[in-house]
């Protein structure tokens, strides 16, 4: 079995074990209501994480995802407040806005050959300010809390029976993206670009176009998450999503997509997202302070990265040893 398959099995086992332990520890954990809330929270992070996984597979990073959520959420509210246009018209506009920001990221990175981190960090700053500027203000210039009343828009925050609408959307998006990665040429190009850009170019892959596409998709996913978030909150604030990068990065890294590129997939991210949401939910259900959530997340990232690096080094050492032995035998045989 490959390294990544073993890893996934361990992670899934751990997730089930933690879930079982929480069910014993707190009667409030294993209820339909709580599990649906957990899945709903997971989906909120997960939608963004799907796009982010593709960025990470190309060995890039997108620091602007949180700020894209803020700006596109404000975009929705602006449309509602000023134009009173119906939701089916402006939701596509918000999603296109997310794509456009992603295109800008990708264009600047590939055109000027700049580090992804710096470019998207700069975009993050730009968008954070922009979200505040375009926010609807009251007479004193303070950000005004606009309540969303569009019924179609609010449906996004609703549920079908006990199942929140966002949950099937997340799983459908994850399935479609996984399929795209594994079964299309464009998906193959994403892996090739991350694993070995020089070899990818030699094989005729347009790596610049691949990168631009990946950042556009990341922007799209963030905008989609913004729509669901605003709909559930029935309002939008310019600080929506800011700081949520932490959860997204944690979910993807726990899921087994490393920062080095070329490896990883969406199933891992789905498991990572569920893992993270379970930990966060468990902390609350155990009656612990919510302030320890970020500490737990940070700690988990450190542990996962350390174990990953150790395990990879260990596996490589074993392989290198086997190869050397074989070489020695060959040498003597020849």
């Amino acid at each position: 079995m490959s390294i990544s398959a073993v890893r996934r099995l361990i992670l899934t086992g751990l997730l089930i074990a933690i879930g079982a332990a929480l069910s014993f520890a707190s009667p409030a954990f294993f209820t339909v209501g709580n599990l649906m809330t957990l899945l709903q929270e997971a989906s909120q992070t997960g939608i963004v994480a799907v796009g982010f996984t593709l960025v990470l597979i190309t060995a890039g990073i997108d620091m602007s995802i949180g700020a894209i959520i803020a700006v596109t959420a404000m975009l929705c509210v602006n449309f509602l407040y000023y134009t009173h246009l119906p939701a089916y018209l402006f939701i596509p506009v918000a999603l296109a806005g997310g794509c456009a920001i992603g295109w800008f990221n990708g264009f600047v990175i590939t055109r000027f050959k700049l580090p992804e981190f710096i470019v998207t960090l700069a975009t993050r700053g730009l968008l954070t300010g922009l979200a505040l500027i375009i926010a609807v203000k009251d007479a004193d210039g303070f950000v005004k809390n606009v309540f969303i009343e569009d019924p179609l828009f609010l449906r996004f925050g609703g549920a079908i029976g006990p199942v929140y609408f966002i949950i099937p959307v997340f799983f459908a998006l994850a399935a479609a993206t996984q399929f795209f990665l594994k079964r299309t040429r464009a998906g193959t190009n994403v892996y090739a670009t991350g694993a070995n850009p020089a070899a990818a170019r030699l094989s005729g892959i347009n790596t610049a176009r691949t990168l631009v596409g990946v950042y556009m998709f990341s922007g799209f996913c963030a905008a989609l998450a913004a729509v669901f978030l605003s709909a559930r909150m029935m309002t939008a604030m310019p600080e929506f999503g800011i700081g949520s990068e932490m959860d997204v990065i944690a979910a993807v890294v726990i899921g087994g997509t490393p920062f080095t590129g070329g490896v990883g997939d969406i199933w891992g991210t789905v498991i990572g997202t569920l893992f993270l949401a379970t930990i966060k939910n468990g902390i609350l259900k155990l009656g612990l302070s919510p302030y320890i959530q970020p500490i737990a997340i940070g700690g988990i990232i450190v542990v996962v990265v350390v174990v990953d690096v150790w395990y990879k080094g260990f596996a490589e050492a074993v392989a290198a040893r086997a190869a050397r032995q074989k070489r020695l035998l060959d040498g003597e045989g020849a």
């Binding site: 490959s2 079964r183 040429r185 090739a192 070899a199 030699l202 190869a323 040498g331 045989g333 020849a334």
Partner: protein, 508 residues
């Protein structure tokens, strides 16, 4: 042979210069359909330039090229070369890790499901397996690249070229990182390709391979074609004679070895490192320049890394200055070793730092005071000292080393060690990528160091340099010392013969 149709490639009068020095002058070169043709020559003879011209990586200045009956314009590009069916098996393998054999073979050309833009994975694996089976390789289409040996990865590269309908396959030193068994397999594959009508252009320093494989051999020397040998004319000794080509008269013919009588600085006995070094025994004395010859991959660099303390070893003893010694980088530096690595840009310099910074980094102990604070003044003194000693140009300690010429960069790397109490200096490829004037200065510097009592070890692929500089030469082959040249006259030819395993093995 009846005329044009037997020739796959005809080049005539190829000229090429890289801003100044002429790399190729008036080279005629031809390949017959379905032959295995070797291209040989010393380092810098123009082999790789010729290959780059064929594959469209660089453009020729003059001369005509006809491939498969079609005239190739001066503006030949990489894509055009690929479209013609010219494929290169890259030395640094260009495969995508994490992907399967089939995915790599068909990258960007994956078979799609009819009417859809989805990859037909079943068909892709079947097509790849058919291709593998047709050539009888031991591979599975669904194997992931990461788990394959270097030899198997090379096979995948060859399959990738085959699936793209290559008619000419260029292999540049394909065996340099292969084991003996893997090399034998590769030769089988090359013969198989020939049997299927594919022309193979083979580039290697290993004479026995060239001898075993080739239908014809083209010898290049100093950018000119010296000879084309037919099958029956090929003999390793003849090829080496043509490659070196200097008339064997006067002092040009070889260099007298000088036996040094100084006390031993480093004594190595029975050194073995798994898969890299076998039973290495030698010593180097004060005031001696000891040269290590051998082909790339013969274990020279590995030996240097081991005695410096970078790589571990399993068996054997090392004595340094008469005392038992277990090398580690920190102990080696403190004990008076100097090490100038092969990859200057990667391992020797920090390009963004000034001369002062680069020299300072290896001498922090000498320039720091009681509290571990580094004295800028002392560092500057060290830098000035090294600049004067080695004649670094420009003589400005503040200039970033990355901005210096190759020769001056190398001087800075050597300079890092010179201002210490140096007892042993190891230099791996001292003059690669350095212009002739700077080479001469480097030789004088190394000689001067030896005369002042330092034991100097050099590793060089440049035979002229090795024979000229060394007082004694040890030749490595497959991780063993196969020959010592300690006295009398030694020629470049002798060293190359020993490296290639032609000269009878006489262990020192």
């Amino acid at each position: 042979m009846n005329g044009m149709n037997d020739d796959l490639l005809l080049c005539a009068g190829i000229d090429k210069s890289y801003n100044g020095p002429q790399v190729l002058s008036g080279v005629d070169f031809s390949l017959r359909r379905g032959e295995i043709h070797s291209l040989v020559g010393e380092n810098g003879a123009g082999k790789s330039t010729l290959v780059k011209i064929l594959t469209g990586v660089t453009q020729r200045d003059r001369g005509s090229m006809v491939f498969d009956g079609r005239e190739i314009p001066l503006e030949h590009g990489r894509t055009a070369a690929q479209a013609l069916g010219i494929a290169v098996i890259y030395q640094e393998l260009s495969l995508i890790h994490g992907m399967t054999v089939a995915q790599n073979i068909f990258l960007t050309r994956e078979p799609l499901l009819p009417g859809l833009r989805l990859i037909d994975r079943g068909k892709m694996n079947r097509m790849a397996q058919e291709l593998i089976d047709r050539y009888g390789f031991r591979l599975r289409a669904t194997d992931v690249i990461d788990g394959l040996s270097i030899g198997q990865r090379q096979t995948v590269e060859i399959l990738k070229a085959l699936s793209g309908k290559a008619s000419l396959m260029i292999m540049d030193e394909p065996t340099s990182s292969l084991t003996a068994a893997e090399s034998a397999q590769l030769f089988e594959i090359i013969r198989l390709l020939k049997a299927r009508g594919i022309t193979v252009l083979y580039i290697s320093h290993r004479m026995e391979e060239v001898y075993q494989l080739s239908d014809r051999v083209t010898v290049l020397r100093d950018g000119r074609k010296v000879a084309v040998l037919e099958r029956e004319q090929i003999s390793p000794a003849e090829i080496i004679r043509l490659m070196i080509g200097r008339s064997l008269t006067g002092r040009e013919s070889g260099n007298r070895m000088v036996r040094s009588s100084g006390e031993p600085v480093l004594e190595v006995e029975g050194l073995c490192a798994e898969g890299r070094l076998v039973d290495i025994t030698f010593q180097v004395r004060r005031g001696e320049v000891l040269g290590f010859g051998g082909l790339v991959g013969s274990g020279r660099t590995e030996l240097m890394r081991t005695i410096y303390g970078i790589d571990p070893f399993q068996a054997g003893r090392i004595r340094y200055l008469g005392k038992p010694y277990v090398p580690s980088v920190a102990r080696s530096i403190a004990g008076g070793y100097g090490f100038v690595p092969e990859e200057r840009r990667l391992q020797g310099i920090m390009g963004g730092l000034s001369i002062t910074g680069n020299i300072g980094i290896a001498n922090l102990d000498a320039s720091s005071g009681r509290f571990g604070l580094v004295s800028g003044g002392k560092e500057l003194d060290h830098a000035r000292q090294a600049i004067t000693l080695l004649n670094v140009k420009p003589a400005d300690p503040d200039i970033p080393v990355g901005n210096l010429s190759g020769g001056n960069q190398q001087k800075v790397v050597v300079g890092k060690w010179l201002i210490r109490d140096l007892k042993l200096l190891i230099v791996d490829e001292p003059t690669v990528g350095i212009d002739i004037g700077a080479k001469e200065e480097m030789y004088q510097t190394l000689r001067r160091l030896a005369d002042s009592g330092v034991a100097v070890i050099i590793v060089s692929s440049d035979l002229a340099e090795l024979t000229r500089l060394s007082d004694r030469i040890l030749v490595l082959r497959k991780g063993r010392i196969v020959r010592e040249f300690a006295e009398g006259t030694v020629t470049e030819e002798d060293v190359l013969m020993a490296s290639s395993g032609i000269l009878q093995e006489v262990p020192p």
